[in-house]
């Protein structure tokens, strides 16, 4: 767990660039330069999608990793934000969409989805473990069936099509390169927000609630209130991810938050690792690559491409089989082994 209490002089500036490790510089430059050498398909379908799914899975990581609460409602929160964008903004379903300006419907979409996530959290935090999973799954299933059967607001089975981002600065943000940078920026901001939160009094208290709720109550913390606020924080991130997801697909339907999609977010977060905020993005990248290329792999071995979930499932089993802490756990094991092999006197490998 990160030390929160400052033992050194406070940072003079947020832009303490010299503190950033070299591998992060390399990764950052690589991501910025990606459009120079990656195809539009890779930018839009692999990376754009990974950043979006990573953000939604990141919201689960906040709850599970820092708060000890496994929630299956995050994809539903994201889908609700997408629905609000479609209903209040513009879409191909002109008889329902209200055509409000973006500066109104985007904040409202985030707000409504966050309030919804908070209310679900207020129900869920009164339970523990499997019961939290069941309650959130039940609400997610109810949302799916409700949107599928409600035609007055959610346009039933068909949902909304032609939901596209506003043309800020005259740019078509659904083009591969602008979309890539937009999702990258949102993903980085979400990541930084979570990193920041983890070292604040609220973040420390949330980790305390995860580790020992009884003791936290005995220190004067309202365990329930902290857990609910964690849902609020996580839901805001999921909501932004949901808006981007709707813009990427240009549509939102009940299937956006179907049960398989809800479970996929859990799979992504677990495969990547729940210990650190980077985990969900790693998991999302693996998921996106497997989902996109699985049908090709299956065709190559003579199987139907429709069974791509089989490949995703096998990938999931392979990762958690070797490391219950996901890919991050594998990395930690590798680092620990390297550390153990280091010569205590000379510092080199033995």
């Amino acid at each position: 767990m990160a030390d929160v209490l400052p033992t050194v002089a406070p940072r003079k500036s947020l832009l303490a660039l010299e503190r950033i490790p070299a591998p992060v510089w390399v990764l950052g430059l690589l991501l910025l330069a990606m459009p120079a050498f990656a195809s539009n398909f890779v930018l839009f379908q692999i990376f754009g999608w990974s950043f979006i799914l990573g953000m939604i899975a990141l919201s689960l990581m906040v709850l599970a990793g820092y708060g000890g609460m496994v929630s299956l409602i995050q994809m539903t929160v994201a889908a609700l934000a997408g629905y609000v964008v479609a209903i209040l903004g513009t879409s191909g379903v002109t008889q329902i969409s209200l055509g409000w300006p973006w500066w109104l419907y985007i904040p409202l979409a985030i707000l409504i989805a966050t309030v919804f996530g908070t209310l679900v959290g207020a129900l869920g935090v009164r339970t523990e473990g499997i019961y939290t999973i069941m309650i959130t799954l039940a609400i997610a299933a109810a949302f799916f069936y409700f949107t599928r059967q409600n035609y007055g607001i959610f346009n039933g089975y068909t949902g909304f099509n032609n939901v596209i981002p506003p043309a800020w600065f005259g740019v078509d943000w659904r083009q591969a390169v602008p979309f890539y940078y937009m999702t990258l920026a949102c993903a980085v901001l979400s990541y930084l927000a979570v990193m920041w939160m983890s070292r604040t009094p609220f973040g420390l208290a949330l980790q305390g609630v995860r580790d020992n709720p009884r003791r936290m109550a005995a220190l004067g913390f309202s365990v329930t209130a902290h857990r609910i606020v964690a849902y609020t924080f996580a839901s805001a991130i999921a909501a932004v991810g949901g808006i981007l997801l709707v813009w990427q697909n240009a549509q939102v339907t009940p299937g956006t938050a179907g049960i398989p999609q809800v479970i996929d977010i859990l799979v992504i977060a677990v495969v990547g690792g729940l210990k650190r905020p980077i985990g969900p993005f790693i998991g999302a990248l693996i998921y996106a690559i497997l989902s996109v290329f699985a049908s090709d792999i299956l065709h190559a071995i003579g199987m139907s491409g429709e069974r791509f979930k089989l490949v995703v499932g096998l990938g999931f089993l392979a990762v958690v089989g070797f490391s219950p802490d996901g890919v991050l756990g594998l990395w930690d094991k590798y680092q620990a082994r390297r550390e153990a092999n280091r010569d205590p006197l000379l510092g080199g490998g033995r």
Binding site: N212, A217, A218
Partner: protein, 272 residues
Amino acid sequence: MAQPRTAIVRTADRSAAERLGSVSTGNALELRGVTKLFGALAAISDVTISVRPGERRAVLGSNGAGKTTLFNCVTGDFLPTSGTIRLFGEDLTNFPAHERIRRGLRRTYQISLLFGGMTVADNVYLACLGVSRGRFSLLRPRPSDAIVARAHELIEAVHLTRARDTLVSALSYGQQRQLEIALALAGAPRFILFDEPAAGLSPTERSELVAILSGLPDHIGYIIIEHDMDVALRVAESVTMMHNGRVFKEGTPEEIENDAEVQELYLGGGHG
């Protein structure tokens, strides 16, 4: 006996505690007919205890006498089946645990319930944060923050300065007990429940514990559960004996020590 180098409770905390206390009169802690049933088993039964402000009380009794259950009822870990609990005149019987803490009640645990993955400094910081207004803050703490300064003072007060940045899981058992006391002293404590603070301590650590408890400001009352009679009777002004979940005897340490029934029941027939 060495006294703590730092004032354990600062003037500011004292005045905060007095402000909290100014609205109330009478006893610091008052239990009336408190009963806790687990199914058909009465862990405590019709317990009535009154502790004056600033009074130091030892609650003694054999294992299973109901001492820790009594603490759990007072702190809100368990809701009593019947009876009332008042802190400085305010009825806390149905308050959640965190609300009781915010009214100046503190406790330590028999088995350390600390945050093993955090440093000593972070543990004490959390305790100070729990009774402050910044619990939901999304601003990172700075060295100049009052809570940070207070956390450092408390660490010094319980003689853990050298271990400040050590992970709690790496502390000795005795150090963990000292840290428990630091957590109980955070904020503006008015009444503290110490659950076997000397259990497992070496003779030196026990002396240090007695020094810390004796050094508490006069306005802080406490109840101490302790099997070590030497420690309990040195730091307590009055004693409540419990047996089979009921209050069996009350009196001064001398009266209890010389009571024939107590000697028979708790100290063994051959004592004295």
